[in-house]
């Protein structure tokens, strides 16, 4: 911990916070797997608000959002045995499950459910999150990512929002925006590259 003394106080504090949170997440995942009654309480305290906010943003209905938050945490509770407590990013997994539950709901309302439900279920397997950088939701990284997102062009932001918060495929976006599929793919690819590069820089820093 000697190196912390050489850093500016604010940065040292932020690093300590991240380290403590990550250690907490690993410990929390272990307690969830051990079926400790208070672990679910702690999981909700840590990620309940975030999950509710994501779901509200997608479904825009508080009552539906409550049902979907419950479904999200029950899914995590029921599948946590397959989660790698030592290496996985618990927060990223919970948020992904929350987002997918909300998108599944939107698709069921829009009649887009059939293939989507199986697909999203497959994409939130706990095993997928084993190689994740557990600092995925560290505050400084999210802040940098948001700053990069704000600098995107309006069309780039629009396709990102349609993909992330409405669960649209690129062909659905092309139809919605009345643009050629190639154009939509270009907007999406360029927007994601900017975000990806920003995250890569944040990881190096």
């Amino acid at each position: 911990m000697l190196f912390l003394k050489l850093l500016p106080a604010g940065l040292a504090f932020a690093i300590l916070q991240v380290a403590l949170r990550l250690a907490d997440d690993a410990n929390l995942a272990r307690r969830l797997k051990a079926r400790e009654p208070k672990a679910m309480n702690d999981l909700y305290d840590r990620y309940g608000r975030l999950a509710y906010s994501v779901i509200c943003r997608i479904v825009r209905n508080p009552s539906t959002a409550e049902d979907l938050v419950q479904e999200t945490f029950l899914r995590v509770w029921n599948r946590v045995q397959s989660f790698d407590a030592e290496r996985g990013a618990l927060g990223a997994w919970v948020l992904t499950v929350a987002r997918n539950r909300a998108i599944d709901h939107l698709r069921s309302v829009d009649g887009r459910m059939e293939a989507g439900a199986i697909e999203l279920d497959h994409l939130e397997r706990p095993g997928l999150f084993a190689k994740l950088d557990s600092a995925a939701l560290a505050m400084d990284r999210v802040r940098r990512l948001k700053s990069a997102f704000d600098k995107l062009t309006p069309t780039q932001r629009q396709v990102i929002e349609l993909a992330y918060y409405e669960g649209m495929s690129q062909s659905e976006m092309a139809e919605r925006l009345k643009q050629p599929l190639g154009t939509v793919k270009t907007w999406t690819r360029s927007a994601l590259k900017i975000l990806r590069d920003e995250l890569a820089e944040a990881a190096i820093a």
Partner: protein, 243 residues
Amino acid sequence: MTCQELQEMFELYALGALEPEERTEIEAHLARGCENCGQALANALALNAGVFSFAPSIKPPGRLKRRLLTSVGVHYPGWGWVWALGAVCLLLVAAWLGVEERSRTYELADARRALLESNGERDRLTQALQFLSDPQTRPASFGRGQTAPPRGYVFLHPQMGVLLIASNLPAAGAGKTYEMWVIPKGGTPQPAGLFQSDGMRALHILSGPVDVGAIGTVAVTIEPAAGSFTPTMPIIIAAPIGS
């Protein structure tokens, strides 16, 4: 597609936003155990989670946590016992205040009733004194010399009306009342007001001008509580008015 080209689609793949043929190609590639692409997929999941967290922060309702914990069989005491205790205390205080309030209301109603009765009694006595002190008042008595009849006086005044003071009245009985009658000479009895006795004594006034000379008798009967237009019971008082 090359690994590089595939990796550019991992975020959309993880969102379930790819076309079926693109998804199939990525899954086939990942199934071959490409190490670089495995890490790139993890990075894509991290990016996606970061973008999800852009959602404006909204506080969930408190009931949601209770509901969730209950659904997984976790007892959630929270602060419920404090609210329950508070609610019980409030109920007790409200009940006590209610009883006090009701009791106070009854006391006030009793006092008001007593005051009204007292005021009414005072007014009647004052009116009776005016009768007795006015020189135009003509007295008449009844019941004298009889064994145990009602006894008393009737006073008539041309402007003030008729005053009856009686004692030794027989009990009216449940649902009955006394009714005074003014019987003109050669005429039919006219109702002159209902009254109750206080321990077999009574004071009753018919207010207003009367033709004293035309009155032959002042009488009292026992009638139903609502009174009668003509006497239906035996006359218990009959005070003849002398000319």
